[in-house]
């Protein structure tokens, strides 16, 4: 049985530091996606909203917030939160509604307005919240965890600071022509290496910014889509897996890993399991992918993802990068959109934006950053507190 749904429309509000209400970005993205699909808002039966926790109550009820702003229509709604993976959760919920036959057309929306500087936990004295405690007791910002992973790559695989910087150089070139990217400037190796160290070995230009932005998808059943277009782009799989116990790699926002003293360590680690679940569901493998959009919170993390999504074996990511295979024009371009390096992080919109990019690429609408012959792609993303996110999009 086919478990595919069609992507009828995609839309984004450009990423930036606009400082306006997140609802505005979400509605702009939703209207763009509806226009792209050739559908009216009133034809949408179900709205899946990806929540933001930094914008008060409207952010916790994102689907209803966007539905109200688009004009109450009686549509059914669900709002989801999974940190950086929130968008994939919203896609997963919308897809399930369609596959269950409960609706034909669903709208998925995520948008955020972010504060300046480091992400900080919610206010108040919250001694039972590990996200609050990690800042209080360790000063463990997100870049602290990124730094630990980056150093580990250097120790385990001989990665260099130049390798990390080359990810930024590559992605900055990819994003040059992307109208939705916040940073559209070619960055040189020297510029990265001269930027100040934030969390050793990572420098300012190795770490993604926090941004405002919005992204939306119009999804439908294949039957509905085929009445409108001969060859819709499809979602072939959505993975929202959690880790398996014991999770032996330190994860945000934790103080420790699980203890493996009484349990067998899973054969497949958490980050490897995220895309693997999606591949299994789609009946495809990494060898079938023509491009990937991965969550480059730091430059070094993009290298980890090459291995986690099966583009190469553990320890071979630096070689894959140096070969040029992951640049547009190479064998398997990664982050042709420019990635977080060019966008910065707009948390609930990010996993949705990855799917927008794959859709444009597979339709052949990506302009100067077009991956020639793109027919299938994979996204990968991870949210703190144990949220995996991977979506496979295909022609």
């Amino acid at each position: 049985m086919a478990k595919e749904v069609a992507i009828l429309g995609v839309g984004m509000h450009p990423w930036g530091k606009w400082g306006r209400n997140f609802v505005e970005y979400g509605v702009a993205a939703a209207r763009a996606a509806l226009a792209d699909a050739g559908l009216e808002w009133k034809e949408v039966q179900f709205v899946a909203g990806a929540d933001t926790i930094r914008n008060g109550y409207p952010g916790y009820v994102a689907a209803a917030t966007f539905a109200q702003a688009l004009g109450w229509s009686g549509a059914q709604v669900t709002s989801t939160y999974g940190a950086c993976a929130s968008g994939a959760q919203a896609i997963g919920v919308a897809r399930a509604q369609i596959l269950a036959g409960l609706c034909d057309v669903a709208l998925v929306v995520g948008a955020d307005t972010t504060p300046k500087g480091f992400f900080a936990p919610q206010k108040g004295e919250r001694g039972a919240d590990p996200d609050w405690l990690r800042f209080r007791l360790l000063g463990a910002t997100n870049p602290i965890y990124f730094g630990l992973y980056a150093r580990r790559r250097m120790e385990a695989f001989g990665a260099t600071r130049e390798d990390f910087a080359q990810i930024k150089v590559k992605n900055s070139r990819h994003g040059l022509s992307n109208p939705n990217a916040r940073y559209r400037k070619a960055v040189t190796l020297e510029e990265v290496m001269k930027s100040p160290v934030v969390s050793d070995p990572l420098r300012l230009l190795d770490i993604c910014a926090t941004s405002d932005g919005g992204a939306a998808l119009v999804l439908s059943s294949l039957e509905f889509a085929r009445r409108r277009t001969a060859k819709p782009v499809k979602i072939a799989a959505v993975s929202t897996v959690t880790p398996r116990f014991p999770q032996t790699v330190i994860e945000m926002p934790n103080f420790s890993t699980d203890s493996a003293v009484a349990s067998r360590v899973p054969d497949v680690g958490f980050k490897d399991s995220i895309a693997r679940q999606a591949y299994e569901e789609a009946g495809l493998g990494p060898e079938d992918m023509h491009l990937a959009e991965v969550y480059d919170l730091s430059t070094a993390l993009e290298l980890d993802w090459y291995e986690n999504i099966g583009l190469c074996k553990p320890g071979e990511a630096e070689r894959l990068l140096r070969s040029g295979d992951t640049a547009v024009g190479g064998r398997i371009p990664v982050n042709p959109s420019g990635g977080l390096a060019c966008f910065g992080e707009a948390i609930p919109a990010q996993a949705i934006a990855q799917v927008c990019e794959l859709t444009w690429q597979i339709r052949g609408q990506a302009g100067a950053r077009q991956v020639q012959g793109a027919r299938a792609g994979v996204t990968a993303n991870q949210g703190l507190f144990g949220h995996g996110s991977s979506v496979i999009v295909k022609a």
């Binding site: 001694g127 360790l138 014991p246 203890s259 349990s263």
Partner: protein
């Protein structure tokens, strides 16, 4: 002026003996899984139905799994000295517990650290106010 009293920055996570500090976790009486910070109600091992978790001291030494530093002042609720002084953060692997525990590093910068080196637990000042100095566990090269 007499020295300020020293208090734990958080109750029940570590002992306050400066000569022999220990992290305080719990151990499941049924399967032996160790938790830090403490898990007190249900064992999180999906293969175990244990509900008895007794306090246990964690190994005070381990190997450095990875490390990094804060070159910029973290946001609140971190209480920073003024001016901010960069510090390292270590992820230390405890052999007996088969787990990795984070901690600030005392007595070494990232230039002096190397993966695999032996680290030991220490107590150090996290911050102070008018009434007391607040201590937290830290890692330092053994």
């Amino acid at each position: 002026m007499p020295p300020k009293p020293r208090k734990p920055a958080i109750e029940g996570w570590f002992t306050m003996d400066p000569a022999r500090p220990r992290l305080l976790g719990t151990r499941c009486a049924r399967c032996g899984t160790v938790y830090f910070p403490k898990e007190t109600t249900f064992c999180r091992n999906p293969g175990c139905a244990g509900t008895e978790l007794a306090e246990t001291e964690l190994s005070p030494r381990g190997r450095l799994w990875s490390f990094t530093n804060n070159c910029y002042q973290p946001p609140e609720p971190y209480v920073s000295p003024d001016p901010f002084v960069p510090y390292a953060v270590a992820a230390v692997e405890l052999e007996a517990e088969k787990m990795v525990v984070l901690g600030q590093v005392e007595g070494a910068s990232v230039e002096q650290l190397e993966a695999g080196m032996e680290m030991e637990l220490a107590l150090g000042k996290l911050y102070e106010d008018a009434d007391a100095e607040y201590l937290v566990w830290k890692w330092r090269p053994a």
